[in-house]
Assembly symmetry: C2
Homo-oligomer: 286 residues x 2
């Protein structure tokens, strides 16, 4: 059978994966959910036709969204995760014994149900006793919290559909208020290469810079996301991700990671000139 | 018109670019050459159906294959370039006033003719008086040279067809002999993610490690190459790319680069754990 899944990485750029089998196709109240089996990337799922995770490279995204902030403040005890229905972010967080409490707010319960059934390794820690699941709107949840979290991770879809509100100025302001005095916000920050994604990246960065005392951008090689060059935002009231990097804490914990390491931590903040220029240019926009 | 160019990045992974117009399709004695116009990536050309350069991202590849070695030994005067028919590598080399002599050996003269006509910015320095063009087999050319070059850059296609010999043990040994006591070899080193490319990467690394005193691997985000995670090999008889990095020389020259910078130089050698593991594993193979 010659069955292909295709995603447009730009209007005129298409990324296609040959499918062994479609395992699920389901409409939730929020979005279309599809699960596929492929030869090269293993199992993967899409929301509204965009790849969320593949078995082959989900470790890269989850390593980088979790281990970077965790190694800047080894005192992180209370974490809020927004989105992240596949469970990969929570799985990596749960590897830190000193984390006491994780609130995870996913708007779409069906995503969690699907991932627990089809991606048991990724979703393996969603029932950890420290994890408190809320199936509600992350925007409203965070608006009611004040001075409460050491770390907020926004593991969202792109800024349209259910993820749209998670890229707004008022949301970042609410996150700032929900964080304590040493709080860190990390978010998926889109991509610098294709025009459409670059505009999302610029807009997000400008709003975060206007809200947080410290706002940096870092990157990882994620082959199944548009252009393979994916960004994360690191924002904080107190910590600089490089100056306050606690390399020793990493050595002590002795975590085995498939992507992240001490050199990658520093290197991920070294942006190409064209990306730095685009971020700076975005700050000038209205 | 709905015309698409597609390249298989793996047997079951396809990358497609919508084409405005095919500008050229020609068979040389060595390979099939095609030139296309696209909206998102500008003009690009393929050899035997594989993207070589696009106007939009060629700067990344050429920045990284040239500026990394040039900033490790600021005394580089004599350079051998193998392949590189598009001229981008020579263009970047020509920005260094202290380079006195560049031998460029491209097996396929037609590639140079096509690029001079269709990619005048990339090919702009091929007629620089310091550049000596040889349209012959790079393998034979380098085999006749002893102790002559400060730098050899192997800017080749993948290891099949005309590029195949440029990944062999005997070729790396000939490069070693053609370099002087402080010589550096840089080569395009394939990619770590998809199986087929990873095997090429492992094989190349093993052969270079067996031939050179120092052998490191570095990386760049190149969106139009398979997986977007592309590698380069840095091998030398004398220099370590990080310990001997001359950041000051960079500042003095005041080169404007769109990708490369001082932080990128160091960061590009920080490999993800899974890439380090694959390279180490490859060293054990027969």
């Amino acid at each position: 059978m010659d069955l292909w899944y295709s995603e447009f990485h730009a209007d005129t750029i298409k990324f296609s994966i040959q499918i062994e089998k479609q395992l699920l196709s389901k409409k939730s109240p929020f979005q279309q959910i599809d699960v596929f089996e492929s030869k090269e990337l293993g199992r993967f799922f899409t929301l509204d036709g965009f790849v969320m995770i593949t078995e082959k490279d989900e470790f890269i995204y989850h390593d980088m969204i979790v281990h970077v902030p965790m190694h800047v403040n080894p005192e992180i005890k209370k974490v809020l995760v927004i989105g992240a229905g596949d469970g990969g972010t929570v799985r990596e967080l749960c590897r830190y014994p000193h984390i006491e409490h994780i609130d995870m707010v996913e708007i779409d319960e069906m995503v969690v149900q699907v991932c627990e059934e089809y991606f048991p390794i990724t979703a393996s820690k969603l029932r950890d006793p420290r994890v408190h699941l809320y199936f509600e709107d992350g925007l409203k949840f965070v608006a009611n919290k004040k001075n409460e979290y050491d770390l907020i991770i926004v593991d969202s879809t792109d800024p349209f559909g259910p993820g749209e509100g998670l890229f707004t100025r008022s949301f970042y302001q609410d996150c700032h208020a929900a964080l304590n005095a040493k709080g860190i916000l990390v978010n998926q920050h889109e991509s610098p290469f294709y025009d459409h994604y670059r505009k999302n990246m610029q807009r997000a960065h400008k709003r975060i810079v206007e809200t947080f005392e410290i706002a940096k951008v870092y990157q990882a090689f994620i082959p199944t996301y548009a252009s393979g060059h994916w960004l994360f935002g690191f924002a904080s009231k107190h910590f600089d991700p490089i100056l306050d990097f606690k390399a020793d804490a990493f050595a002590q914990l002795n975590l085995k990671t498939k992507y992240y390491n001490e050199d990658i931590h520093r290197a991920s903040f070294a942006l190409p000139n064209y990306v730095k220029d685009a971020l700076a240019e975005g700050l000038k926009d209205e």
